[in-house]
């Protein structure tokens, strides 16, 4: 009993010791705790902005497409000739058609024009119906000639046309501009195709095909491109509140005088990860693109475990905690926890510069992933043992990614994108255990090769 007096004496003396710390200690503490708060806020704001931007973008595009479609169909239904010739022809044809019925055997030039204009003003369904009517070969030739002349004039007089009937142009402004742009860029191809169709027996169908051709060319412009992707980087997890006592074991309770210990796990450290997969990509406008893919994702994390436990524990593969008394520093082992996923990433690319030889993009997207395999350990804080149990993990996960990429060989057959990316798993790895409420973070260098069919 007397022996303990020394310890008590020492304890009392040392409890009196108070040393005021220097000011720099609090400054550092304040900065570090403030930084942790700020980091969390920045990540939240960043992803919230990404989601808003993506939603806004989709909404805007859908609305724009709907408006264009409406305008085109209205114009088709109510369109009036917009150039001088058409107006003139229309009037002439109208008066003639009122005066007398056209003769099927001897069709005049005016009637041919009339037929052409009428056909052109028909809707697709009407054109298809028209294809069933019979027109003589002489009429066909005249229509071909007229069509050729008209196309030629249209190309030469696009600018002049705008001045002829400003009222009409104002009402159908955007749609006509789009149509003309289309006509100008693909006029040669169109002419060849239409002439070919007209020279065949079922020539009235050419007008129906003209619409299909438009669609075909448009589709070609926006066709899907195939590519492969490979990323490598550092995988890490966010912190959780797994109860440890500064990293070492302490008795937290007493049961009839016998201390009950809680062991704490070693720190989970960052390690390597990679993603490999295939994707398809489509340009949805001059400076925006959409990509969808399927990838294999490998993430790994490290932790320190003790020696292999020879116990009757429920699992065959168990390791002791480093701070477990039955373990020793000699048995220290670095254990790699592997996580393998299959994921479907969907992302939108926004071009942020105007250099077409070296475009730079900002990407943002979402991922849906499925955990296919893991060898990660869970931790038993009572026994001080690591053990495998995959039932703790969430199999289905969602994530967000964002990054920048620069495209090399943009005009070549195989453009190559490369840039830094950031991935954050919005779904936690597990709902309990060592990875409870922990989220994967992956900082990667992403590369992508597209195979263009040009």
């Amino acid at each position: 009993m007397e022996q303990n007096n020394f310890e008590k004496n020492v304890q009392q003396k040392l409890d009196e010791l108070k040393i005021p710390p220097s000011d720099s200690v609090w400054t550092n503490v304040e900065n570090r705790i403030g930084k942790k708060d700020k980091d969390g806020k920045i990540i939240f704001i960043l992803f919230f902005t990404l989601v808003l931007l993506s939603a806004d973008y989709w909404f805007f595009n859908l609305r724009k497409n709907d408006l264009q479609q409406n305008q085109i169909s209205k114009l088709k239904e109510n369109s009036k000739p917009i150039n001088k010739h058409n107006s003139f022809f229309d009037k002439a044809v109208s008066s003639k058609s009122c005066a007398k019925k056209p003769d099927s055997t001897s069709i005049s030039i005016g009637n041919a024009k009339n037929a052409l204009i009428k056909i052109k003003n028909k809707t697709l369904a009407q054109k298809t119906a028209l294809s069933n009517t019979k027109i003589g070969s002489a009429e066909k030739e005249k229509i071909i000639l007229l069509l050729k002349n008209e196309n030629q004039k249209k190309e030469n007089n696009d600018q002049a046309d705008n001045e002829v009937n400003p009222k009409t142009i104002l009402t159908s402004n955007q749609t006509e501009i789009n149509q003309r742009r289309f006509n100008r860029s693909d006029s040669a191809l169109k002419k060849m195709k239409i002439e070919k169709d007209l020279s065949s027996d079922n020539f009235p169908q050419a007008f129906a095909k003209k619409d299909s051709l438009k669609k075909l060319i448009k589709n070609k412009k926006k066709q899907w491109e195939f590519g492969i992707t490979l990323s490598g980087g550092t995988s890490m997890v966010t912190k959780n509140s797994f109860k440890n006592f500064g990293g070492y074991v302490v008795p937290v309770a007493y049961n009839g005088g016998i201390p009950i210990y809680y062991f704490s796990p070693s720190e989970i450290k960052n390690s390597v990860g990679f993603i490999a997969g295939a994707l398809i990509e489509k340009n949805i406008s001059a400076n925006k693109g959409l990509s969808i893919g399927i990838s294999y994702r490998y993430f790994s994390l490290l932790n320190e475990v003790g020696g292999k436990a020879d116990s009757s524990y429920a699992f065959y593969r168990t390791y002791t905690a480093l701070n477990n008394a039955y373990s020793s520093a000699v048995n220290l082992k670095i254990y790699r926890n592997n996580f393998q996923y299959v994921e479907v990433p969907v992302s939108i690319k926004f071009r942020i510069n105007s250099n077409s030889n070296f475009p730079v993009f900002w990407d943002a997207g979402i991922n849906i992933s499925e955990l296919i395999s893991t060898n990660a350990f869970q931790f038993d804080s009572n026994a001080g043992l690591y053990y495998p149990d995959n039932t703790f993990f969430n199999k289905l996960g969602f994530g967000l990614n964002a990054g920048f990429s620069a495209t090399f060989f943009a005009k070549g057959k195989k453009p190559f994108n490369i840039g830094p990316y950031f991935y954050y798993s919005t779904t936690s790895l597990a709902n309990k255990g060592l990875y409870d409420n922990r989220h994967f973070v992956f900082i990667e260098l992403k590369s992508e090769i597209l195979f263009n069919k040009r």
Binding site: E7, N9, Q11, K13, L14, K18, V29, R32, G246, Y248
Partner: protein
């Protein structure tokens, strides 16, 4: 410092109010630096431990259940942070090796300690790191040898024998220091 309403202070700290965090720090930092100082060999190392310890305190404050004293909980974190520091810092790691040795009986000498806290602390800090750590954990913090063994990854016997040697050494130094102090060779503070 006057009486502090720990419950209110804790609530405000959990809301991450900077003024409350500063008050908590100001209240506990001097005594906790005293704790950290006993485990290290320099004041700058002790301040580093204190800094890391308080970062842990503020980030894990939600884990404090309120079933014990807040000061005791913070102290526990400081001790564990100090041990972590000793294990991870190259300067201390080599000294912290605990060789297996036969069990020694604890010295039965029981001198009265007439030194000031700072003088006593200085003597404890003169001990080899292994002795110093085990002495602090057992004599000052009150951990049992089995617990110390678990904390440091050594056997209970090693903890006992290291403590016995540390105790003998320290008593010898205290006696020498007291004699010299009386004869005027050392200043009292």
């Amino acid at each position: 410092m006057g009486e502090i309403d720990y419950h209110q202070l804790l609530k405000e700290c959990l809301k991450r109010k900077p003024e409350a965090q500063r008050r908590l720090y100001d209240h506990f930092a001097p005594s906790m630096l005293g704790v950290c100082f006993r485990y290290t060999k320099s004041l700058s190392d002790a301040e580093e431990v204190l800094q890391e310890g308080f970062i842990k305190v503020f980030t894990r404050l939600n884990q404090f259940k309120g079933d014990g004293e807040l000061g005791g909980w913070i102290r526990k974190i400081m001790v564990n942070t100090a041990l972590n520091f000793l294990k991870t810092n190259q300067k201390y790691r080599n000294d912290l090796s605990f060789d297996e040795m036969p069990l020694h009986l604890v010295s039965t000498e029981n001198p009265e300690v007439r030194l000031h806290a700072k003088e006593l602390t200085e003597l404890i800090r003169q001990l080899p790191t292994g002795f110093q750590t085990i002495f602090n954990l057992h004599a000052v913090e009150g951990y049992k040898h089995l617990e110390i063994a678990s904390m440091l990854g050594i056997s209970e016997g090693t903890s006992r024998s290291q403590y016995a040697r540390a105790r003998v050494l320290l008593i010898e130094w205290i006696e020498k220091f007291s004699i010299k102090k009386q004869s005027g060779h050392y200043g009292t503070k």
